[in-house]
């Protein structure tokens, strides 16, 4: 019962933080430098790891599916499988997981440290709402950067798969055939659904990580605990939301 009330309290607190932060949306134009800084931190610094990991995810997907599909002569559909899986599922989910580890943890650590060392209290006494200065620019940055990262992850995954198909001796599907298969069953909706999912994940990650950071109480030891809590909560939410958002998008034309 105590645990349930704690969970409900956290959900309520996170939603309240979202409402309070979005209330300051009209102030976003004059927070442009802060927004650009967050775009850099969220997007640019995450780019190398997204590029490398999604390339290898696409590669291993092609390798595994090539190995299995060879048995029943369906190698020509590897491109379709890699393309759709990356666009609809693995691209958004992997980017969300990487953003949680790379950006979400940093957000929680920074905000928790500001809370513990009374910087947040200083903002409050200066009549500068922390939701406006600390949460809103991060939410805006993730909304802009998440689809860009997801598109890059898709492209890297597709090219990783293409390279493996071309140069692995037991697959040997040339890239022209691979991309032809990829295009044949791919519809714009598949890409858009993936991007929508990545938007939802990014928004939730930043919100959860900001809330966890700002609700930290106690000493420096709590900063580490807050980061762990935020990362675990974000990862659980990504996978739970993945199911429900996918179901919603599959039945929405």
């Amino acid at each position: 019962m105590k645990y349930l009330s704690l969970v409900l309290g956290n959900i309520g607190g996170t939603l309240l933080l979202m409402v309070r932060a979005l209330k300051y949306t009209p102030t976003l134009p004059r927070q442009f430098p802060r927004f650009i800084e967050q775009c850099y931190l969220v997007g640019f610094t995450t780019l190398p790891i997204v590029t490398i990991l999604s390339f290898f995810i696409g590669s291993v997907l092609a390798l595994q599916s090539g190995y299995s599909m060879e048995n029943f002569g369906a190698k020509q559909f590897i491109g379709t499988l890699v393309g759709l899986t990356m666009a609809r599922e693995l691209g958004p989910v992997m980017v969300a997981v990487l953003v949680t580890g790379r950006v979400g943890s940093a957000i929680t650590a920074e905000l928790a440290s500001m809370k513990v060392y009374q910087e947040v209290d200083a903002l409050v006494t200066m009549n500068i709402p922390p939701e406006r200065m600390l949460v809103l620019p991060r939410l805006a940055a993730i909304i802009v950067m998440m689809p860009i990262l997801a598109v890059i992850a898709n492209l890297c995954g597709w090219y990783g798969g293409a390279l493996v198909c071309q140069y692995t001796h037991f697959i040997s599907v040339d890239s022209q055939a691979y991309f032809a298969a990829l295009k044949r069953f791919m519809e714009p909706k598949d890409i858009i659904d993936g991007l929508l999912k990545s938007e939802v994940f990014g928004f939730v990650i930043v919100l959860v990580c900001c809330y966890t950071g700002l609700s930290t109480r106690g000493g420096p030891r709590e900063i580490g605990a807050a980061v762990t809590k935020a990362v675990v909560a974000s990862l659980i939410l990504i996978l739970v939301l993945d199911y429900f958002v996918t179901k919603l998008l599959l039945f929405t034309t």
């Binding site: 004059r30 060392y117 009374q118 910087e119 209290d121 200083a122 006494t125 200066m126 500068i128």
Partner: protein, 267 residues
């Protein structure tokens, strides 16, 4: 360090503070018990007491950073716990550890308030910030980051940041803790001079006897979450209350049974 300071008198009126039957409990443990006091506009009011007596919690209630279990605080006619009060009263709190923004330079720490509230163009902000820095002899530290500053400098920057806000109510939480006696005297001097020049209502939480009895108009002593006594500083120098006398003039008694216990423990 300069011995003369020239601060611009702050615009607008100063506010008095009234604390009425304030009680605060953390997880059922009482920290403040039935606190009532009144701070007049323009006065320096010191709140003294032993560590853990609830002084800083009381100050956080006055700053609107805590919600009371019962009772309340009003600043002028405004409720301190109401977030709207911060837009009606210019309140500045100098935190014990400074609470400077570590990611910003000293200059940007000071410029944050006027920038966020769009009080003046950048040239005006620069003038305002450099003036506050000059009052505290910190011009050379403008480009430094808080991590590069000593404890004393951090406190002075925190005071300068409060000055930029041109407060009508200025709160200090242990402004002289962790400072050497010379720096403590300088900070006391700054607090007194700022009040003299700007007529700002000042509340200082401290256990620095010379600061409280030296510059305050009135002093309240809190012990175990309760107000033990309130009065003018001179009333405390000849106090007959043994707890207050012991707090203000502690005597190191090596014949105390507690020392004997320690000796036995080490043997």
């Amino acid at each position: 360090m300069n011995t003369t300071y020239t601060a611009t008198p702050f615009a607008g009126k100063t506010f008095g503070v009234t604390v009425t039957r304030l009680n605060k409990q953390f997880s059922g443990t009482p920290v403040l018990r039935d606190i009532s006091l009144e701070v007049k506009p323009g006065e320096i009011f010191a709140i003294m007491g032993p560590s853990g007596s609830g002084k800083s919690v009381l100050l956080r209630h006055i700053a609107g950073l805590e919600t009371a279990t019962s009772g309340g605080v009003t600043i002028g006619e405004f409720d301190a716990a109401d977030p709207e009060t911060r837009s009606k009263v210019h309140l500045a709190l100098v935190f014990q550890a400074g609470a400077l923004f570590n990611s910003l330079s000293v200059y940007d720490n000071l410029a944050l308030y006027p920038r966020e509230h769009r009080l003046c163009p950048e040239s005006g902000i620069r003038e305002r910030v450099m003036h506050a820095l000059s009052i505290l002899s910190l011009e050379a530290a403008a480009k430094k980051f808080p991590s590069e500053l000593s404890g004393g400098m951090k406190k002075r920057v925190a005071i300068a940041r409060a000055l930029v806000m041109e407060p009508q109510l200025l709160l200090y939480d242990e402004p002289t803790s962790e400072l050497d006696p010379v720096m403590s005297a300088t900070i006391s001097e700054i607090i007194a001079t700022l009040r003299e020049q700007t007529a700002v209502t000042t509340i200082v939480v401290t256990h620095d006897r010379s600061l409280a009895l030296g510059i305050a108009d009135r002093v309240a002593i809190i012990m175990d979450g309760r107000i033990r006594a309130t009065g003018r500083p001179e009333e405390f120098t000849q106090t007959k209350d043994p707890a207050i006398a012991n707090f203000l003039n502690p005597v190191i008694d090596l014949k105390n049974p507690r020392f004997k216990q320690l000796e036995n423990h080490h043997e």
